[in-house]
């Protein structure tokens, strides 16, 4: 079915121009990266698609950390050497789970954040990698993921121009665990965890659960409970149980709240164990 309500397809040449078109047309205009969701979930109010792929925002740069342009496709990230090498290859591990090459060749990282699907594999990962987003809404700014999603709740829709992942020290590792009915299906629940350790104690801790079935968030109280503590078996089980109690679990057609709590406990425990393994033990 042709979304006939889309009467204009606009290709701005700069971020400023794109923003001006969006500001002028208000709710009627949608920015698009790959455009997948703009097509699949098209609503009659949308009368214009504003294609961001001509803004030179498709790149992966090693700047100590990583700088990823908002219109970079998952395939382009998977093929970029700095992304492959980043933090033990975690981006490859997770992005290879996203759909299949047929979608990864189209879908952009900016579009994924824009869509904010609760089951997104990428959003919990970006949360635990400490991603910062470069935004433009008439002026440029840089916000954490939590700050960006808080702004969206208040109805703002800044353009995302770049995703920045901070450089991490040697004694840090990240793990991801997805639960889905089939390899290709979207997640029933997913868990991501990042840890850095110093003198045998957890220093930076980030844990995020997605698909509860709400949009992923960080589990701040759980992170705080782990901070400063060693990472022995007992601690892992205690933290995993605490995570299961903390999530805002609900029933939906994919799973019950109780099952989601079980998955959270198992997922967090597996992620932390894998991190211990990657770090060669945390004593």
């Amino acid at each position: 079915m042709v979304p006939t309500h889309i009467r204009d397809y606009i290709r701005p040449a700069s971020v400023e121009e794109a923003w001006n078109v969006l500001a002028e047309r208000g709710k009627g205009a949608k920015p698009i990266g790959g455009g997948i969701d703009a097509l699949l979930y098209s609503v009659p109010e949308t009368t214009a698609a504003v294609d961001l792929t001509g803004l030179d925002l498709s790149y992966v740069r090693d700047e100590g950390g990583l700088a990823i342009g908002a219109t970079t496709t998952f395939t382009e990230i998977l093929e970029a050497e700095p992304a492959r090498a980043f933090l033990g290859g975690i981006l490859v591990e997770v992005l290879e789970k996203v759909a299949s090459p047929l979608q990864r060749n189209i879908a952009t990282i900016g579009g994924t954040l824009g869509s904010a699907h609760p089951w997104s594999d990428v959003i919990p990962l970006l949360y635990v990698l400490g991603a910062e987003l470069s935004l433009f809404d008439g002026q440029a700014s840089r916000l954490s993921m939590s700050e960006y999603f808080a702004r969206r709740v208040s109805g703002e829709r800044p353009l995302i121009t770049e995703i920045g992942l901070p450089a991490e020290g040697k004694a840090s590792a990240c793990a991801f665990e997805e639960f889905s009915s089939t390899g290709f299906d979207v997640a029933v629940l997913n868990c991501a965890a990042f840890l850095s350790v110093e003198s045998g104690r957890c220093k930076t801790v980030r844990i995020s659960i997605g698909g509860t079935p709400a949009l992923a968030t960080r589990l701040t109280p759980v992170e705080e409970a782990l901070n400063g503590s060693p990472l022995d078996d007992g601690t892992i089980e205690r933290i995993a149980a605490m995570a299961a109690d903390t999530i805002d679990a609900r029933d939906d057609r994919r799973a019950t709240a109780g099952y989601r709590r079980d998955l959270t406990r198992v997922g967090v425990s597996r992620c932390l164990r894998r991190i211990v393994e990657q770090l060669g033990g945390v004593e």
Partner: protein, 158 residues
């Protein structure tokens, strides 16, 4: 709006609707090798190469092809000879009803262009977005292995 796009090697100027999807445009232009299964990006029957990359043409704006190149399954043969992937699908019996075949072949061509010697697991992962209701995939995986071997020995590389 009007776009300029090279389809199977022929440059065309085409009038499109701004909200139209690539598969609607291609079928209207007579490229019937582009099949429609789900229309939601799930099955891979509508796959074509857009600027060398296999995409589901049902979840891509037609306008995105402007200034670019599209290859449908009809555009894979050279000088009247089928592409090695097409030959291998015939040889191995990787085709039953044939509905998934154009998308599957396009997916395999993209896979082999990036990874000329894929393992069985890489083939299965690479074609995980191409669903087949008939074959059980075994012969299709074998076909891709055969095509990889044939292409390594030279010949039509698409």
């Amino acid at each position: 709006m009007t776009i300029t796009v090279t389809i199977n090697g022929t440059s065309k100027r085409l009038a499109i609707e701004p909200g139209e999807r690539l598969f609607e445009l291609l079928r209207r232009e007579g490229y019937m090798g582009v099949k429609t299964g789900c229309g939601t990006g799930d099955c891979g029957a509508c796959a074509v190469l857009l600027n060398g990359r296999a995409v589901n043409s049902c979840i891509v704006f037609a306008a995105k092809a402007d200034g670019g190149e599209v290859t449908t399954v009809e555009g894979l043969e050279r000088d009247g000879r089928l592409h090695p992937v097409q030959e291998a699908f015939l040889d191995e019996g990787g085709i039953q009803c044939g509905y998934c075949t154009p998308g599957m072949v396009i997916g395999a061509v993209d896979l082999l262009s990036r990874n000329p010697e894929p393992t069985e697991d890489e083939i299965r992962q690479g074609l995980s977005g191409n669903l087949c209701r008939c074959t059980g995939y075994v012969k299709q995986v074998r076909a891709v292995q055969q095509a990889a071997a044939a292409m390594k020995g030279g010949g039509n590389d698409g």
